[in-house]
């Protein structure tokens, strides 16, 4: 059978070997954590602790500020020493709670409930809500929202996204190898919450051992299908993944739920399982620390709020000089201007690019209309025209070329022989026009 895939896409060198075989290791518990009250898409949380207050691990410190939001918990036990604005990985200032770690790792509450699967859908959903779970693939969309589709939009399929199509990153891969059973359980819980009896786990074909493991873990689950996907970026983008596995195309501006599908990342599935079984909130996640510029690559279980500088130090620091440090993967991640930003629920990786590996984009050429970007744009857009119009300042005209359907995957900029900063130009146009 031909491998499931979508139209377009690119093949960047995957570089996963750097961190692929490093088993997940618990990161050192940091002296202090900086926990942003807005780690997700949607309304920021309201702090419910005050300076000087003692908190336990897993205790709620921020309450959701709206429906599209998720509570935030302390990832250590200790004392709140500040509540103030701190920079996050995107360079924005966000209200954050700083907690001094007392090293006792005292949990607020953690109860094993092996019979979790017997809980009702609503009870399970309540657990997901309380645990503050968000999409852990990068966009950090609150999971609860995805699990609460309006009545007129029934869901019939859940997809667990194990594509991990971003080069370098191996966090999801390690999870699938080491926690395959838990991920399948997580999927079963999600299926129960939504009353769905079709589950897919989509994994790119360059991870045969992960496919093997997941197949094994799901072998007694007739409703769960583990599918190999063609290795191609951005295979893990929601719309591409849905099209590859179900043949359904999410219309422009619509959501997966409009084609009766919910997509969750493997890390999220694990978090759902842990929330349902132990009542464990989302206070830590696997972060791949990788790149040619880091001394010791690793896949670390990191407490939310740990500063990236602490993690870099734990991994032996930079090899010689770091040119660029990226939070996330090389295709869609954010370049950091300072390492003093915390790991959040959406941080999938820390990528250190040595100076000689940095692509300088200030020198770019004119569009030679070679059509490469058009061939590969997974959304079927004309990135060339978007970039030309935006460069000339014709922002309004970019809408004729469906500006707002671009999800900034970066494929076009990757292939462009003129090294045009297409994503940058797209963002510029988006910020200066309205959909």
């Amino acid at each position: 059978m031909a491998l499931a895939t979508f139209k377009g896409g690119i093949h960047p060198p995957d570089k996963k070997d750097i961190a692929k075989d490093r088993a997940i290791k618990e990161a050192k518990s940091p002296q202090r954590v900086v926990i942003p009250l807005s780690q997700h898409l949607g309304a920021p949380c309201k702090p419910i602790v005050s300076i000087g207050q003692e908190v336990k691990k897993g205790e709620v410190i921020g309450e959701p500020g709206g429906f599209v939001s998720a509570p935030v918990h302390s990832s250590v036990s200790g004392k709140v020493i500040a509540i103030a604005e701190f920079p996050n990985a995107m360079g924005r200032m966000v209200n954050s709670v700083v907690i001094e770690n007392d090293g006792k790792e005292e949990w607020a509450s953690l109860k094993d409930n092996p019979d979790y699967i017997k809980l009702s859908a609503d009870e399970l959903k309540e657990k997901v809500k309380a645990a503050g779970i968000v999409g852990m693939g990068g966009a950090a969309f609150p999971t609860l929202v995805k699990l609460s589709p309006p009545k007129e939009k029934p869901i019939d399929t859940i997809i667990i996204n194990g594509a991990e199509c971003e080069p370098y990153l191996t966090a999801d891969y390690r999870l699938m190898i080491e926690k395959s059973g838990e991920i399948v359980e997580g999927l079963k819980i999600l299926m129960r919450i939504l009353g769905v009896n079709k589950g897919f786990i989509g994994i790119e074909n360059n991870k045969p051992d992960a496919i093997e493991k997941m197949k094994d873990a799901a072998k007694n689950e007739p409703n769960i299908e583990v599918c190999g996907l063609e290795v191609k970026y951005p295979q893990g983008a929601e719309k591409m993944l849905i099209s590859a596995l179900t043949g359904r195309e999410v219309p422009p501006r619509a959501l997966p739920m409009d084609v009766r599908v919910v997509v969750q990342n493997v890390g999220t599935a694990l978090a759902v399982y842990e929330a349902a079984r132990y009542g464990k909130p989302l206070i830590e996640r696997v972060v791949t620390v990788t790149g040619e510029g880091i001394k010791n690559a690793a896949n670390l279980m990191v407490k939310i709020g740990t500063l990236i500088s602490d993690i870099v130090e734990e991994c032996g620091g930079f090899k010689d000089s770091a040119g660029k440090v990226v939070s996330g993967g090389p295709m869609m991640g954010f370049a950091l201007s300072t390492l003093d930003v915390p790991v959040t629920k959406g941080t999938s990786g820390i990528l250190v690019i040595p100076e000689e590996g940095v692509v300088h984009t200030d020198e770019f050429g004119p569009c030679i209309r070679c059509g490469r970007c058009i061939d590969i744009c997974p959304m079927g857009l004309m990135p060339s025209m978007l970039s030309i119009l935006s460069e000339k300042g014709h922002y309004e005209d970019t809408k004729e070329y469906n500006l707002f359907d671009c999800f900034e995957c970066g494929s076009c900029a990757f292939v462009c022989p003129s090294k045009r900063p297409i994503v940058q130009l797209v963002r510029l146009a988006k910020s200066l026009t309205k959909p």
Binding site: I10, V250, R369, C370
Partner: protein, 348 residues
């Protein structure tokens, strides 16, 4: 806290943080390379004249770009290989007879190069912004300004160093003026005609004659995916079909005889192969949407045959491509690809 951060100035740019190795100049230089086999065949058949003319075109193209960019304070981009390519293509599109001191026509290639690079390309904003293929505008300008010099064709001779050679007509010229029987006669028999056309042992522009060599270069570009099949195949296919339908003549009356043409002669002669693989495919001046490229190719093919059969010139490739160049932006705009999901949801 960690002190690693203090020592480093971190570079911040917008994603993506990795890029493909392909660059514009690598593409341009590769296309230049792919033209070399055909150029060498021209050199072989037409001797030193061919080399001199082509070199003259390349040098004047590159220099005029350099000086123009200096003069208007633009970044000098001659290293990207695109003006070299324009010069090379222009040279390959000129008759070898232009290297002549009596009458003096050596200035002709230079004028063509300046027109191509400065007027057609730089005046419009430089690489990427020109509407017309620079080399073809250069050639078209010369054909109109120097109609005589531009239509003197010489016989391919093995006398390598000979700077003057016997003049003759091109196969398409013979076909137009005297008909297919005369053309076959000139080459002995039909099979020999095909073979000679394929090898390139015939009168014509310097780099257009050897179909074999052009195909080698084109095959390389296709293999490297620098060009795709869309334009050349639709172009050549249209020419073949139309040549078959409308290319035949009743030998007695000289009137058009439908479905009696010889597509092979049309495919193998003139500037068709050079045009279809190397000039109609010019990124900047052809549509960039693949579907649109097929329309473009068909248009080029149809116009070529219209000129060849009905027009005043024996050859129509150049004007066909130039005419279609005008439509490229329009084709792109009207044949935009479908946005993902905009088509109706299909079920597995």
């Amino acid at each position: 806290m960690a002190d690693v951060k203090k020592e480093h100035e971190l570079i911040v740019t917008v994603s993506p943080h990795v890029r493909d190795e392909e660059t514009t100049s690598r593409i341009m230089w590769t296309v230049n390379m792919a033209l070399l086999p055909a150029f060498f065949m021209g050199f072989y058949f037409f001797g030193l004249k061919a080399l001199f003319i082509t070199a003259l075109c390349i040098i004047s193209s590159v220099l005029s770009e350099y000086f123009f960019q200096k003069a208007v304070n633009r970044k000098v981009t001659v290293n990207d290989g695109s003006s070299f390519l324009t010069g090379l293509l222009l040279g390959m599109n000129l008759p070898p007879s232009l290297w002549s001191f009596n009458p003096f026509t050596i200035h002709v290639p230079i004028i063509g190069s300046v027109i191509a690079v400065v007027i057609t390309k730089q005046f419009f904003g430089g690489l990427g912004y020109n509407i017309f293929n620079p080399a073809l505008i250069g050639r078209a300008f010369l054909l109109i300004s120097f109609p005589k010099a531009m239509t003197i064709w010489t016989e391919p001779s093995a006398a390598f160093f000979a700077l003057d050679a016997k003049t003759t007509a091109t196969p398409l010229g013979i076909l137009k003026e005297d008909g297919i029987a005369k053309l076959i006669e000139a080459f002995g028999d039909k099979l020999n005609l095909y073979a000679e056309l394929f090898n390139g042992h015939r009168a014509g522009s310097i780099g257009e004659t050897s179909v074999l060599a052009l195909l080698i270069g084109a095959g390389f570009l296709l293999y490297k995916r620098y060009i795709t099949w869309h334009i050349p195949i639709s172009f050549l296919g249209t020419v073949a079909v139309l040549a078959w339908i409308f290319g035949g003549k009743n030998p007695e009356t000289g009137k058009m005889l439908l479905f009696a043409g010889d597509p092979l002669i049309h495919l193998l002669s003139g500037g068709l192969m050079l045009g279809a693989f190397f000039m109609a495919t010019d990124y900047v001046t052809c549509p960039s949407v693949r579907k649109g490229q097929i329309v473009f190719g068909i248009g080029c093919g149809a116009l070529t045959m219209l000129i060849r059969i009905k027009g005043g010139y024996p050859e129509g490739v150049m004007f066909a491509i130039l005419l279609m160049n005008c439509f490229a932006p329009l084709i792109d705009r009207s044949m935009k690809s479908d946005v993902f999901g905009a088509v109706k949801e299909k079920k597995k």
